[in-house]
């Protein structure tokens, strides 16, 4: 212990006894270095693209742009707004995501609340009924033909209805209800003459705001990011979400091909710059709101990891 004391004095910043013998070592330095490098791989690509998207065509062609714009101008963004198709698609995506999240949360609650009640007769049956789709999926073609029969192809609702019930989210919510809302509270309300709806709306939901926030985010981000179903089921331009638009503009275009907005407007930027601007246009909203929402996601993962 005496040895620790002397080290404690060396290291004036550490007062906490448990950290007494941990001084800043070469190991600490290496760890910080590695973590900083990894963080840079997450941040620098976007800074580079942002810089490229507001640089002049010649600077980009001369390969002079690294992390700072050269020949600052906003032509590429002007073209995007002038063309309007990406902007419209963006707004449309926001609407789809909003409807999806709202209906998703309603469905999720409708499934999770009854199934969280041990007394519910037929609970095991309904649980199995609602869990099977998570483990076994009919696959692309049967689903495609089914949606065709339901007249959902090339329809906004095909992006919403098939996915609003999620077994995974339901499990998280059910676990939350079971673990955080004391049975005695509901029993007391029951004895006071409250019915199931009143208990749900007045007691359970107000106590579940954290999980509601988390699951809403799961729903919203999942819907915002997915594009495969757009590719499978949607053909009209006006019904495509922004991720799929971006896919068509950039990801599916190799170096030989070029990104084009509609031919009606005059695009001053080179495809390089325009692509960078399109990527930033679709990415910035996520990057801007992400730091504020991140903690809710972490919470959701933790609750999901605890089995009920």
């Amino acid at each position: 212990m005496a040895k620790d004391k002397t080290r404690d004095i060396d290291n004036s910043t550490v007062n906490d006894g448990s950290h007494a013998i941990r001084r800043f070592s070469i190991g600490d330095f290496l760890i910080i270095l590695i973590l900083v490098i990894l963080c840079l791989t997450c941040v620098l690509p976007f800074i580079h693209l942002a810089a490229k998207s507001v640089s002049s065509n010649t600077a980009v062609m001369q390969r002079a742009v690294v992390l700072w714009p050269v020949g600052l101008n906003f032509d590429a963004y002007a073209s995007i707004f002038q063309d309007g198709s990406l902007v419209r698609s963006f707004l449309y995506s926001v609407v789809v995501v909003a409807i999806f999240t709202l209906l998703g949360m309603i469905t999720c609650t409708c499934a999770a609340y009854p199934l969280s009640k041990k007394r519910l007769k037929g609970r095991a049956f309904f649980t199995v009924l609602l869990m099977i789709p998570m483990y076994f999926n009919a696959g692309l073609i049967p689903s495609y033909l089914l949606y065709k029969d339901l007249h959902l192809l090339n329809n906004m609702w095909v992006l919403i209805l098939p996915l609003i019930y999620s077994s995974y989210n339901m499990l998280i919510m059910k676990n939350y209800f079971q673990s955080t809302i004391p049975d005695t509270l509901e029993e007391a309300a029951f004895l006071d003459g409250a019915n199931n709806f009143q208990i749900l709306f007045r007691i359970v939901l107000p106590l579940s705001l954290p999980i509601i926030a988390t699951l809403s985010l799961f729903y919203a981000v999942g819907r915002w990011n997915a594009y495969a179903d757009n590719k499978y089921y949607i053909t009209s331009e006006g019904l495509k979400m922004i991720q799929y638009k971006l896919y068509q503009l950039v990801a599916s275009a190799t170096e030989a091909q070029t990104a084009t907005l509609s031919e009606a407007i005059e695009v001053k930027s080179t495809p390089e710059v325009l692509q960078a601007a399109c990527i930033m246009f679709a990415t910035l909203p996520i990057i801007c709101i992400y730091p504020f929402l991140q903690k809710y996601f972490v919470k959701g993962v933790m609750i999901g990891a605890v089995k009920g």
């Binding site: 212990m1 448990s18 190991g27 600490d28 910080i32 590695i34 973590l35 990894l38 997450c42 693209l49 409708c110 499934a111 009854p114 009640k117 007394r119 519910l120 007769k121 037929g122 609602l130 099977i132 789709p133 483990y135 076994f136 999926n137 009919a138 696959g139 073609i141 689903s143 033909l145 089914l146 098939p162 019930y165 029993e187 004895l191 019915n195 199931n196 981000v221 990011n225 997915a226 495969a228 499978y232 991720q243 971006l246 896919y247 950039v250 599916s252 190799t254 170096e255 390089e272 692509q275 990527i279 679709a282 990415t283 996520i286 992400y290 730091p291 991140q294 996601f297 972490v298 993962v301």
Partner: protein, 316 residues
């Protein structure tokens, strides 16, 4: 307390359906919503699977198409494209597991050794970011950065004299394979740490104090305390991931598609999409999809058994 004692026995009795409905009809009403949704959008698609035993022609529909028994499966298993897609899927999923699985553990150990709370928090926030980006964005950014002639990565490497010619990161199959796998590591590394960091916080601090007093070095503490402390988490996650070895992520493959790398990029999800929706071979695509989900399901069940046999929680 008395009231509760009076309720308990009556709850344990088997209530009749009529009584249950009378008491909980609200709950059954709520359940109707998800039940209808899964019936309409999931269960209603299951009968469509009968087309694997048919020579399904879109123009003729289910009723007009001929029944052919196991012929579709024979055709599929004789199909060269299928064996290539299957091999690619298995090889890439195994490689993916191999390179992507250890990274979050290593990162979690490093984050756990950090002593600056603010720096740790910022690092975590930044490292989680790729998990929230769509594959489209990741793919588009990767194409921009890795272009052989005009991508910044190649430009910088050429400027610094590391290479003479641009490296075709995403347009030559071997380079593509490495880039594809590393992007997978990058995307999942930060997010994967959450579960390990949580497991680490469950380890008693006294163990570390005792070890420090005994003069254990940092590596010794990690090796003898932290790693054993998260072993069960590692085992469960490893088994869970082994259960997913038959899967394939359409979006991840699709955004990195181009003709030069098709030989490796052609995996099961791509096979199903192209044979089915693009070429109209509905029966074959469905048979492959069915094969994939049945084998996948079997693997999940086996993994679950395995985890439980090891005394872990399991997944089901």
């Amino acid at each position: 307390m008395k009231a509760k004692a009076a309720i308990q026995p009556s709850l344990r009795e088997r209530t009749s359906w009529r009584k249950a409905f009378q008491r909980d009809w609200h709950l059954y009403l709520l359940l109707l919503v998800p039940v209808l949704l899964v019936i309409i959008f999931n269960y209603a698609a299951y009968p469509g699977l009968r087309m694997v035993f048919m020579d399904y022609k879109p123009a003729k529909g289910y009723d007009g198409s001929k029944w052919v028994g196991w012929q579709t499966f024979q055709k599929v298993f004789a199909d060269k494209d299928f064996s290539r897609a299957l091999t690619n899927s298995l090889v890439f999923n195994l490689l993916d597991l191999l390179v992507s699985f250890p990274m979050p553990i290593i990162l979690a150990l490093m984050l756990n050794e950090l002593r600056f709370p603010r720096f740790k928090k910022v690092t975590q926030t930044v490292l989680y970011l790729p998990h929230f980006l769509s594959w489209v964005i990741i793919g588009s950014v990767a194409y921009q950065l890795f272009k052989p002639n005009s991508g910044i990565v190649n430009i910088l490497m050429m400027k610094w004299g590391w290479i003479q010619q641009g490296i075709p990161f995403l347009t030559e199959k071997m380079h593509w394979a490495v880039t594809y796998l590393l992007i997978g590591v990058w995307q999942g590394m930060g997010w994967g740490t959450i579960i390990y960091l949580a497991a680490i916080t469950g380890i008693s601090g006294e163990l570390y104090e005792a070890a420090m007093i005994d003069g254990a070095s940092r590596m010794q503490r990690i090796w003898h305390i932290t790693l054993p402390g998260i072993r069960s988490t590692i085992v469960v996650l490893l088994i869970m991931n082994l259960g997913k070895i038959m899967g394939s992520n359409f979006e991840r493959l699709d955004v990195f598609a181009n003709t030069q790398v098709r030989e490796y990029q052609y995996q099961l999800a791509i096979y199903i999409y192209e044979k089915g929706l693009s070429n109209g071979k509905f029966s074959m695509a469905t048979a492959v999809g069915l094969f994939q989900s049945l084998v996948g399901l079997l693997l999940v069940l086996i993994s679950d058994r395995f985890a439980k046999a090891l005394g872990e929680d399991g997944l089901l």
